[in-house]
Symmetry: C2
Subunit: 196 residues, 2 copies
DNA sequence: TAAGAAACTGACTGAGCACTCAGTCTAATT
DNA sequence: AATTAGACTGAGTGCTCAGTCAGTTTCTTA
């Protein structure tokens, strides 16, 4: 692995665990086993390191979500929503670093003034919501989901629930495992087509 | 107003707007119109200021939520849930400072090692969830809400939705106003008693 | 009104920080 | 073997910051 990649890897670890402000460049250089100057040779600033990370996290996760979204399935749309929720929660755990970063204040603060950051965040969130929207649209076609609903908006509502679950888990607020069944049931009741 | 109170007031403003780390004690003293030493005369550290703020925000908001929860109403439980959602969103706007602080990383980080902070956060969140739980329990009694649901867990699900809405609004992610109707409808579909 | 207590002050301290830069090392090219 | 460009180094720089403290002012009470 190149030193540049090693820096990015360690930085991802540190930024996601300790937050942007609480990560010192000296610590990053030490933990990577690289001189501090090397970091600034490859990246123009601490912010630059952060943007590089966010970009590469995006590049890593978007295809996975896209692939999942496009995968054919025998299931009804309503069942797909349930599966998408599982998939999202699974991804939030296996890619904890990205999700931890997305639940910090810094990226949104940066997005205010940095369009590149804004674009990356938008792409990531759109991709997240898309998997739910696809399932809902599918469900409206196969009759399992109420056709009167606006797919995008319902997708955002569903997303708002899992997003909070992830936040609760991250901040040790509630035991999310204990809520999983209710989460699924609630989404089903919320979306299902009762006219059939 | 005493200088101590003035410090707390300015600190609330700064911490909620700029975050804990990005607020300097020098800035706090200047903006309050008080010497830096005065802050450390009244509070033993920056963390002490933060805890004092969090405590007083709790003292301020808990009674309001309690009063609301206990208020008598002619409405059905299901309608009360809708009203509680409105109330919560209204409070999130009028007490933006508290909600902005609750959506930062620092309080949860602090809660890991500081039981006092942990207790305050727990009290606040319990109170938030309680207003939804009360409405749901009421609804189960008057028959408007499905009695098969676990009130507390459903309340947490409802809370997870508004909590995300507030987060979306705070981070300029989505236009929450445009989702308000869907939020209400979703909760109704999720909770209502269909057996009647 | 005197004396003690409490409130307040702001220059100072030392630690930590992001970032720089003059120079070294490495490897490819001529 | 000499040249050169890119990769890398780490001591140094200037700044910011939380917290201190010796001293001053204001309030309280006897």
């Amino acid at each position: 692995m190149t030193k540049k990649d090693a820096i990015l890897q360690t930085a991802t670890y540190l930024f996601s665990r300790k937050g942007y402000k609480d990560t010192a460049m000296g610590e990053l250089s030490k933990m990577t086993g690289v001189a501090e100057g090397t970091i600034f040779y490859h990246f123009k600033s601490k912010q630059g390191v952060f943007l590089a990370i966010l970009g590469s996290l995006k590049e890593g996760i978007l295809p996975e979500f896209e692939r999942y979204r496009k995968a054919e399935s025998e299931k009804t749309g309503l069942d797909m929503v349930e599966e998408s929720l599982s998939f999202y929660l699974y991804m939030a755990k296996s890619r904890e670093d990205l999700f931890a970063i997305l639940h910090q204040r810094y990226p949104y603060e940066l997005a205010e003034s940095n369009p590149e950051c804004r674009d990356i965040l938008e792409a990531i969130y759109n991709c997240f919501v898309d998997i739910f929207e696809s399932a809902i649209t599918g469900g409206q076609e196969d009759g399992s989901i109420d056709p009167a609903l606006t797919a995008r908006k319902s997708a955002l509502i569903v997303f708002s629930m899992v997003d909070s679950m992830v936040r609760f888990r991250m901040n040790n607020l509630y035991d999310v495992g204990a809520l999983y069944k209710e989460l699924i049931d609630s989404c089903r009741r919320m979306l299902e087509n009762r006219k059939r």
